[in-house]
C-alpha cells in the first residue's frame, strides 16, 4: 500500500475540516437574561390575575352567601394576618418537616426497590406490576390499617406518605433504565465497561431523566397523601396545615380556611419551582433536549 502524501495535502485537509466545523455548528439564538426572566414571569402574573378576577366575579354574582365565599381581598388579608398573628407559619413548618422526612424515606426505599427490579428479571416478573398497582392505589385506603397498627400518631401519617411516594420513585427508576437507548449500552460495553463500572458510568447517568420524573411524581403523591393524613389523623397538639383546615372548618372560619388552602398551593408551587422544576430543566439542558429555536 503506497502512501504518498504531499506536505500540503494534510494542511489542506485541516483547513477544510476547520471550514465545515465553522459552518456546521448550530448557532443558538441569543436571549438576554432579562428577556428570559420576563417570558417566564408574565404568564404566571397574567394567570394569577385572571384567577383572582374570575373569583371576584363569582363573589359579585353572589352565587354563595358571603360567609361561604369570601372575596379575594378578604382571604389575602386574612392570609397575612394568620402569618403574622396566627400560627400559619408554624403549621407550614410542621407539615413541610413531615413531608421532607416522608419523601426522604420514600426516595431511599423506592430507589433500592427500583434498582433491584430493574436489574433482576425474576424480581421484575414477580413484583413489577404490583409496584404499578400500589402506585395507582389511593393512599387514603391505607389509613384504617395504619391507624390500627400505629394509632393516631405521626407514624401512621408517615407510613402512608412513604407508601404513596415510593412506588412512583421505583417506577421512575425502572422506566429510566428501560428507556436507555440500546446504542448507548452497546457503546459502553464496547468501551470495556463491566459490572459496577457499567452501572456507574452508563446505566445510572443514562437513567437519570426517568429517575427525576419519578421523583417529581413521588413528591406530588407524598404531598397529597400528607394532606389526607393530616386531615384524618388529627394531632391537635401540633399545628399543621391539615389541622388548620380541620379547625377552620369546625369553627366555620372560611376566610382562614381559604388562606390555609392558599398556603398549601403556594408551598406546592414553590417546591416545584425551586427544586423539581430546576432539576428537570438542568437535566433537559444537559441532554440537549431544549429546543432553543422554539
Amino acid at each position: 500500500m503506497a502512501t504518498t502524501r504531499t506536505p500540503d495535502a494534510g494542511d489542506i485537509l485541516d483547513v477544510e475540516l476547520a471550514g465545515i466545523d465553522a459552518l456546521d455548528v448550530p448557532i443558538a439564538p441569543a436571549s438576554t437574561r432579562g428577556r428570559r426572566l420576563w417570558s417566564a414571569t408574565w404568564p404566571k402574573v397574567a394567570a394569577t390575575g385572571l384567577f383572582f378576577f374570575v373569583w371576584q366575579t363569582l363573589v359579585w354574582l353572589k352565587l354563595k352567601p358571603a360567609y361561604a365565599l369570601p372575596a379575594p381581598a378578604t382571604v389575602i388579608h386574612r392570609f397575612f394576618t394568620d402569618i403574622t398573628k396566627g400560627n400559619l407559619l408554624d403549621a407550614t413548618a410542621t407539615t413541610l418537616h413531615r413531608a421532607g422526612m416522608g419523601f426522604g424515606v420514600a426516595v431511599l426505599i423506592g430507589s433500592v426497590i427500583g434498582i433491584a427490579v430493574a436489574r433482576s428479571r425474576i424480581l421484575r416478573a414477580a413484583i413489577g406490576s404490583m409496584i404499578t398497582g400500589l402506585q395507582t392505589m389511593p393512599t387514603i385506603a391505607w389509613f384504617p390499617l395504619t391507624i390500627l397498627y400505629f394509632g393516631l400518631t405521626e407514624k401512621a401519617i408517615l407510613v402512608v406518605v412513604v407508601l404513596g411516594a415510593a412506588p412512583s420513585i421505583a417506577n421512575g427508576i425502572i422506566s429510566g433504565v428501560d428507556h436507555i437507548p440500546p446504542l448507548q449500552l452497546r457503546a459502553g460495553r464496547v468501551l470495556g465497561a463491566r459490572g459496577l463500572s457499567f452501572y456507574r458510568h452508563v446505566v445510572i447517568p443514562a437513567s437519570l431523566p426517568g429517575f427525576v420524573a419519578g421523583l417529581k411524581q413521588g413528591w406530588a403523591f407524598a404531598w397529597r397523601s400528607l394532606m389526607a393524613g393530616e386531615l384524618l389523623v388529627v394531632i391537635a397538639a401540633k399545628p399543621s396545615l391539615g389541622v388548620q383546615l380541620e379547625f377552620n372548618r369546625q369553627a366555620n372560619d372560611y376566610p382562614s380556611l381559604m388562606a390555609t388552602m392558599l398556603m398549601i398551593l403556594i408551598v406546592g408551587i414553590v417546591v416545584d419551582a425551586l427544586f423539581f422544576g430546576r432539576l428537570e430543566h438542568a437535566i433537559r439542558n444537559r441532554w440537549g433536549l431544549i429546543d432553543t429555536a422554539a
Binding site: 500500500m1 503506497a2 502512501t3 504518498t4 502524501r5 495535502a9 494534510g10 485537509l13 485541516d14 477544510e16 475540516l17 476547520a18 465545515i20 466545523d21 456546521d24 455548528v25 448550530p26 446504542l183 448507548q184 452497546r186 457503546a187 459502553g188 460495553r189 464496547v190 468501551l191 470495556g192 465497561a193 463500572s197 458510568h201 452508563v202 447517568p205 443514562a206 437519570l208 444537559r286 441532554w287 440537549g288
Partner: protein
C-alpha cells in the same frame, strides 16, 4: 524434516500476524426448526495494518459479524480470534449525551484505568488527532453529525487497540463531510498503524478506502468474492481507477441481489456473465 518444520513455523508466524481471524463462523436467528442463517460458516482474515472493506446488500449479516468480532454477541459455531479488544464505530456516533466531547473520550481512558494525571494530556492529543481542538467542552447535541463521528473516532482510538471495526460510520453524513472524513480516516489509519475492518453498502466508498474489498452474500452471509485494490494512495472517490474497480464490485453485488429475485438463479436470463474474476 527441516523443510516441514520451517513450513510449520512460517504458517504459525502467518497466523500470529493476522489481526482478525474468523473461521467457519455461523450465527442463527429465529426459533428452532424455522431459523435463518445470518452467517453460515463464514471465514475471513485480516492482516495487521490492513484496511479491509466488507460490502453487501441488506441482510448479509455485516453488522452481526462486527458484533461477533467485538464480543457483543456470541457465535453459534466456529472460531473468532482478534488481537486485543476491538474498538467499534457505529453509524450513529453513540456518544453519551450527558458528557462533553472531552469527557466522552476521557471515559474510554478511565475504563482502562489510566491515571488521572495522564488522562487530560491524552484526551487533548486525541482531540487534536481528529482536529477538534477547542470543541472539547461541547456536548454532543452542540456538535454536527460529522463532528460527533470524529469524537467517536477519538474515543475509539483512546482504547489503544490494534483493531478498529467500523459499521457504516459515514452513512448518515452529507457528501462533503463524508469525503473529508474519508481523508481523515485514511490519515489516522496510516499514522496509528491500526487494522481497520470497514463495513459499508457504498461500493465507491469501499474501493476508495480499502486494501481489499470483500463481497458478502445475503442470507446466509458468506464471503463470495474478493477484490484487491492496488490503486496508489491517496485516492479520490471520483477517479477513473476507483470507478473501474467499483463497477466490478457493484456488478458482483448486483448478481448477488438478483439471486434472491423471482428467477431464483443468478439472473442468467438477464444475460449476466456466469462467473467473474474475484469469485470464490
Amino acid at each position: 524434516m527441516t523443510n516441514t518444520i520451517s513450513t510449520e513455523i512460517t504458517e504459525v508466524t502467518k497466523l500470529v500476524e493476522k489481526a482478525v481471524n474468523i473461521s467457519e463462523v455461523s450465527k442463527v436467528y429465529g426459533p428452532a426448526g424455522a431459523h435463518t442463517f445470518a452467517l453460515d460458516r463464514i471465514s475471513l482474515d485480516v492482516d495487521k495494518g490492513e484496511f479491509v472493506c466488507l460490502v453487501g446488500a441488506s441482510g448479509c449479516g455485516k453488522t452481526t459479524l462486527l458484533n461477533l468480532i467485538a464480543g457483543l454477541d456470541r457465535a453459534g459455531g466456529g472460531e473468532i480470534s482478534v488481537e486485543g479488544r476491538p474498538a467499534l464505530l457505529f453509524q450513529d456516533a453513540g456518544l453519551f449525551p450527558w458528557l462533553t466531547a472531552e469527557k466522552n473520550v476521557d471515559l474510554a481512558l478511565r475504563l482502562r484505568k489510566v491515571p488521572k494525571a495522564q488522562r487530560s494530556k491524552r484526551v487533548a492529543e486525541l482531540l487534536h488527532t481528529v482536529r477538534l481542538d477547542g470543541f472539547g467542552d461541547r456536548r454532543p447535541h452542540e456538535l454536527s453529525g460529522g463532528m460527533r463521528q470524529r469524537v467517536a473516532l477519538a474515543r475509539a482510538l483512546a482504547q489503544e487497540t490494534q483493531v478498529l471495526l467500523m459499521d457504516e460510520p459515514f452513512g448518515a453524513l452529507d457528501a462533503i463531510t463524508r469525503d473529508l472524513l474519508h481523508d481523515e480516516i485514511e490519515r489516522v489509519w496510516t499514522e496509528a498503524g491500526i487494522t481497520v475492518l470497514f463495513v459499508t453498502h457504498n461500493v465507491r466508498e469501499a474501493v476508495r478506502l480499502g486494501d481489499r474489498v470483500l463481497v458478502l452474500s445475503s442470507r446466509p452471509g458468506r464471503v463470495v468474492a474478493e477484490f484487491p485494490v492496488d490503486i496508489a494512495r491517496p485516492r479520490r472517490l471520483e477517479s477513473p481507477e476507483v470507478a473501474a474497480v467499483a463497477s466490478e464490485v457493484t456488478e458482483r453485488l448486483r448478481k448477488e441481489v438478483r439471486r434472491h429475485g423471482p428467477s431464483g438463479s443468478d439472473g442468467a436470463a438477464f444475460g449476466g456473465a456466469q462467473s467473474r474474476a474475484g469469485d470464490i
